[in-house]
Amino acid sequence: MEFPDIIALAVPVFLILVITEIVAVRIMKRGRYEARDSAASLLMGFGSELAPLLGGGAIVVAAFAGAYELRFFDIPNTLWAVALCFVIDDLRYYWWHRISHERRWFWASHVVHHSSQHYNLTTALRQTWTGQILTQILFRAPLVLIGFHPAMVVFVGALNLLYQFWIHTEIIGRLGPIEWVFNTPSHHRVHHATNPKYLDANYAGTLIVWDRLFGTFVREDESEKPRYGIIKNLGTFNPIIISFHEWVGILKDVRSAKSFRDVLGYTFGPPGWSPDGSRQTSVMIKERWQRINGPDRKEADARKLAQQPAE
């Protein structure tokens, strides 16, 4: 069974769809394009394809080859195996993605993808230049170790990435029953939003069922338009700064750390962690929002109202 390089084959399709979306967004007036933001996103995508050529790609190939030698089972290259591998890889994607948001070391790479204040098909291509070696070895090599052929693992990963391209758009609304099972533009808009009620949600790649299963699913609320980007938005379109800014941030924080605990917290704690709590993690932001707007507040208001003497 042959596994084609579907990402390379899809490049012309990406181009056609981006051009179509630019025109559609202009006509439908849903969202907008910022040329320099798109340039940054596309150059990040271009760089992410070149980055493995610096040596990381060879390390991953060697790691996969080693893992395949030690495989637990001999899984044949059949269609059912591809389907099974895709589902397991999608679960793998969910957890990799969730950890990439919850631990700063992984966030330093993944933040790149979230660093645009726009949400369109070029945002899908805003990919990281760093962190691939650890990601592939920690999260993908186990599939090879189980017994799926490395080429199959790479193929299903590419298929997953390809699926996620089209969901980065504001011009597609809700999709009915498809929303129950699959990740959709609506679900993924929530994931890219910085509104407190949308934080830390919808990590799925292809199947949204993982979020429903693990309690991280949040539905897009018609009354609350997503605001895209990151908590502290970047003040630049420079791809090099976009790529490395969080790593520089970690380095600066570690240099100022007063204890080994602080070093660990700055490096592997949640993004926004600080020893004195002076910065805000997404959990803290959500808690503050819930205090102001959440059910606790509503209950408190209701209790207060009930305690008031009737006129």
Binding site: A8, V11, L15, V18, I19, I22, V23, V25, R26, R32, Y33, E34, A35, R36, D37, S38, A39, L42, L43, F46, E49, L50, L53, Q117, H118, T122, R227, G229, I231, K232, N233, L234, G235, T236, F237, I241, I242, H245, V248, G249, S278, R288, I292
Partner: protein, 135 residues
């Protein structure tokens, strides 16, 4: 793609250029100057507990410096059509440079190095920030 890195990269860069050009053609136009309403709205979203008191809006409408309750400051600046905010708690080391009617505030992070504001109140705002700069 051809399999030749140089040719493939050239084709990709050409495609990127064409997409960016189309986006620019479709959405080009003057960027509106920052208004107090827009900046306040953005600050309210990014920093809900920041209470703006006094405003210094750049004469070119590219940025705004805001004094908040409790001696803290915030910067709001344009990035393309979007806004970027930075909040400076009281006492943070903040460098400034006054040049006639221009006040440059050097932010402390790698992605927003400096923001220049112009206006007749520049000197007054420079002196307001001086205690922060001196600390």
């Amino acid at each position: 793609m051809t399999g030749n890195l140089f040719i493939d990269s050239s084709i990709s860069l050409l495609a990127i250029g064409s997409m960016v050009l189309l986006a620019w053609l479709m959405f080009r136009g003057p960027v509106p100057p920052i208004t107090m309403k827009e900046a306040a709205g953005r600050l309210a979203f990014d920093e809900p507990d920041f209470q703006p008191l006094n405003w210094f809006i750049d004469c070119d409408g590219r940025s705004a410096l805001v004094e908040g309750a409790g001696g803290e400051y915030a910067l709001v600046s344009r990035l393309g059509v979007d806004l970027v905010t930075r909040r400076f708690p009281p006492g943070i080391a903040l460098k400034t440079h006054l040049d006639g009617d221009g006040l440059t505030v050097f932010a402390t992070d790698i992605t927003t190095r400096s923001v220049r504001l112009c206006g007749p109140d520049a000197a007054q705002w420079a002196s307001k920030l001086a205690p922060i700069s001196d600390k």
